[in-house]
């Protein structure tokens, strides 16, 4: 009998995959699912049948994740698909996005929650324009770890010099983009070399296999050292005899941690109070951490509502301002309207805003700033400023991915049209190569 309880304390890791068409992304995902035994027989049989139908002898692992390919051929939605697998150490969520130029918005979506970005590079082609674009997105979305998987090593005879040349070239990109933690792995997704098991064909490679790396990379270690942030989501008032005076502020901790007894400030009103209890489901705890969903009770009967933010009093406070400067990835067919009004959602807060200015667009292939063309179309990334009707309470995206991000919603169609990453000063984010 297996040790069932062992499975109860796995960690969760979210990663995104990026690569150009035919770099082997589907094959790699299929390989990870297959080798970790996350594929069921009925699924495998379907893939075997399909492989045969398409004239292949071997099982084509790429077909396992082929929801997207079918769509591509039919010319319909190309989108982010989520896939799941687990090993005894971790549960993984893969955000799988197609790598076409038109789909920057999908990559941004997939990258927004990722702890790790896997960037695939075809060993034969080396670093191409698309690899740079994927790296820029990993940097823009502040993905803490980037794995550069040099694939199809079998087609270059597992040649160390080919791998090293790619590593050397990529290092300059990583530096320019200020990528945080970059790891390089030579793999063959088709044959499995260095994916799950160490390859005998790369004796010159001393690093980890891809799966081992994914199982052991520290996840979100810094989150609890961030200044404590608690966007209020919902006010819980039972109005029952038993809980007559109960008034709790429900939400998800978005940075740092809170303890019973902490002195806190409620923003934007600047009211001070103290935490008297932290409830998590049916029980009370003394301390809670990012990203737990809890309910906080305060000593004083202060006026707190959805959209407010509770922060610790003695720490670095978020900026409270109606003028927001951000990098935006535009998601909609209708271009950004300068001077136009939009709805902004930021944490649990919502307000209206007017777009003040477009400062520059980023050419994500050359990473140069474009100053003369300020039309922001779908898939464009631009630096803009906006003014909100009521002040937001925010950090820069660099400091905190939750309190530093927002989405822009069209007032008429209610579609989500823009994804914004708040910047404090432009220097942080203007890259050039």
């Amino acid at each position: 009998m297996k040790d069932t309880t062992g499975y109860l304390d796995m960690e969760l890791l979210r990663f995104s995959t990026a690569g150009s068409v035919d770099d082997g992304k589907s094959t790699l995902i299929g390989r990870l699912l297959y080798d970790s035994k996350s594929i069921f027989e009925d699924q495998l049989q379907a893939v075997k049948d399909a492989s045969k139908r398409l004239g292949g002898e071997e099982v084509n692992l790429a077909l396992l994740t082929d929801g997207l390919r079918a769509e591509r051929e039919q010319g319909i939605t190309i989108d982010v698909a989520y896939r799941y697998f687990a090993t005894p150490k971790r549960k993984f969520i893969i955000a799988d996005t197609p790598g076409h130029i038109e789909y920057t918005r999908n990559m941004v979506t997939g990258a927004s929650t990722a702890d790790v970005a896997i960037i695939l590079i075809d060993a034969r082609n080396g670093i191409i324009e698309q690899s740079k674009r994927h790296s820029y997105i990993a940097s823009l979305l502040q993905i803490p770890n980037v794995v550069v998987a040099v694939n199809k090593m079998d087609l270059v005879d597992f040649d160390e010099t080919v791998f090293n040349a790619i590593v050397t070239e990529y290092k300059t990109i990583a530096e320019t983009l200020k990528l945080k933690n970059v790891i390089y792995i030579p793999i063959s997704a088709r044959d499995g070399d260095n994916v799950v098991d160490r390859s005998s064909k790369t004796p010159w490679y001393n690093g980890e296999t891809l799966l081992h790396l994914l199982e052991t990379l520290p996840v979100r270690v810094d989150e609890n050292n961030l200044p404590a942030r608690f966007p209020v989501q919902f006010v819980i008032r039972p109005h029952s005899d038993k809980f007559h005076d109960y008034r709790g502020y429900a939400g998800r901790i978005s940075g740092g941690s809170f303890k019973v007894g902490d002195e806190v400030t409620v923003l934007p009103s600047n009211t001070q109070s103290k935490i008297i209890a932290i409830d998590e489901g049916l029980k009370s705890v003394t301390e809670a951490y990012t990203p737990q969903s809890v309910t906080i009770r305060l000593a004083d009967n202060v006026d707190v509502s959805r959209g407010d933010m509770i922060v610790k009093t003695d720490i670095h406070k978020p900026t409270v301002s109606a003028n927001v400067s951000l990098l935006v990835c535009w998601l909609n067919h209708r271009p950004l309207n300068v001077g136009g009004k939009y709805i902004i959602r930021h944490t649990t807060d919502e307000t209206r805003a007017v777009i003040k200015d477009v400062h520059f667009k980023v050419n994500i292939n050359t990473l140069e700033n474009i100053l003369d063309d300020k039309t922001v179309n779908m898939n464009d990334i631009a630096h803009i400023t906006l003014k909100t009707m009521k002040p937001l309470k925010f950090d820069s995206y660099q400091e905190n991915r939750t309190t530093g991000s927002l989405v822009i919603i069209d007032e008429a169609t209610h579609e989500t049209v823009g994804a914004g990453m708040i910047v404090h000063d432009l220097e942080d984010q203007s890259f050039s190569i």
């Binding site: 069932t4 499975y7 027989e41 549960k91 927004s112 939400g251 969903s293 989405v407 989500t416 994804a419």
Partner: protein
């Protein structure tokens, strides 16, 4: 220093966040309760999310009339225990009133008719968000489903017009007459659900554990030998030790041969299982793109 957040804690925290977003963003949400283990987990998550206040939305059960008796008993007890309100939408009524037409033949199922009753029920009570227990790992077509899934005024899902969902920001804005389906446990797998049931000690209908039952085999799948499923003369009734891996309407709930009689046994069984849970659901087998078709029509 704190202990590492486990995957179950993190999934729970995410789901509770979404349940609270729904309560905050919508005027009249409802939780679709099918009696299956996923919706049982959802019910418990909702209880936790708003405790000590009552769950701020009712449970809606779309009753095909073809239930295992136990499902209904369990449902009624659960609703009482959690202090929730229950609304039942009846497929039989939809048939009687001519809104739905019963399928004929041996493979007849009311599963498809549920969509009509569901949409009628949502409209009748003016629900603007329906919480469902679907998971992205269940089926290819669900892999790209959003947490907040927008439906037009006909209740239809338009795969080409889904709103991008970034970070943990959920956009539930809608026009009059439109509504949302929301899937708080999207990121859970079948294994996560079972592990959570074990961790939280959630009582389940005994159908999930091994029991002796009169069954018959059709297309390599075992079904309960009950009146709701007409049998062909060649389909012989035998007694087997079986359990349900997922429970829905009787006509599409496949039973697996199993001797698992505890949650630990079930988890072991799933860990070594080589067939997906939906592999046992007839409704998905009807055609390759079965699920996608039903989704477009407004199925859960």
């Amino acid at each position: 220093m704190q202990e590492k957040l486990t995957h179950l804690k993190e999934l729970e925290s995410e789901s509770i966040f979404i349940l609270r977003e729904v309560a905050a963003q919508f005027e009249k949400p409802a939780l679709l309760f099918s009696g299956g283990k996923d919706s049982i987990v959802m019910a418990y998550l909702a209880y936790k999310a708003f405790y000590p206040a009552p769950i701020p939305f009712p449970f809606v059960h779309i009753d095909t009339g073809h239930n295992f008796d136990e499902t209904l008993t369990y449902r009624d007890e659960l609703v009482k225990k959690l202090g929730a309100e229950l609304i039942v939408g009846s497929v039989q009524e939809s048939i009687d009133s001519g809104r739905a037409v019963e399928e004929k033949g041996f493979n007849a199922s009311r599963n498809k008719l549920q969509t009509i009753t569901l949409l009628d029920t949502l409209e009748k009570y003016k629900f603007d968000a329906a919480l469902g227990g679907a998971r992205r790992d269940e089926e290819k077509a669900r892999a790209k489903e959003r947490f907040f899934s927008h439906r037009d005024e006909f209740g239809q899902w338009d795969p080409k017009n889904q709103r991008p969902e970034l970070w943990n920001i959920f956009n539930g804005k809608k026009h009059l007459g439109e509504h949302f389906r929301v899937f708080p446990i999207s990121n859970w797998t079948e294994m996560d659900v079972w592990q959570y049931i074990l961790q939280e000690n959630i009582p389940l209908p005994s159908l999930y554990y091994t029991h002796e039952r009169e069954v018959f085999n059709r297309d390599c799948q075992w079904y309960a030998a009950l009146d709701a499923i007409p049998r062909r003369p060649t389909e012989e009734v035998v007694v087997k030790k079986v359990r349900c891996r997922t429970i829905g309407d009787i006509t599409c709930t496949g039973l697996s041969l199993s001797t698992a009689n505890s949650l630990e046994d079930i988890i072991d069984e799933i860990a070594s299982s080589r067939i997906t849970e939906r592999g046992g659901r007839t409704d998905d087998k009807r055609s390759e793109s079965a699920m996608e078709d039903r989704k477009k029509e407004g199925y859960f």
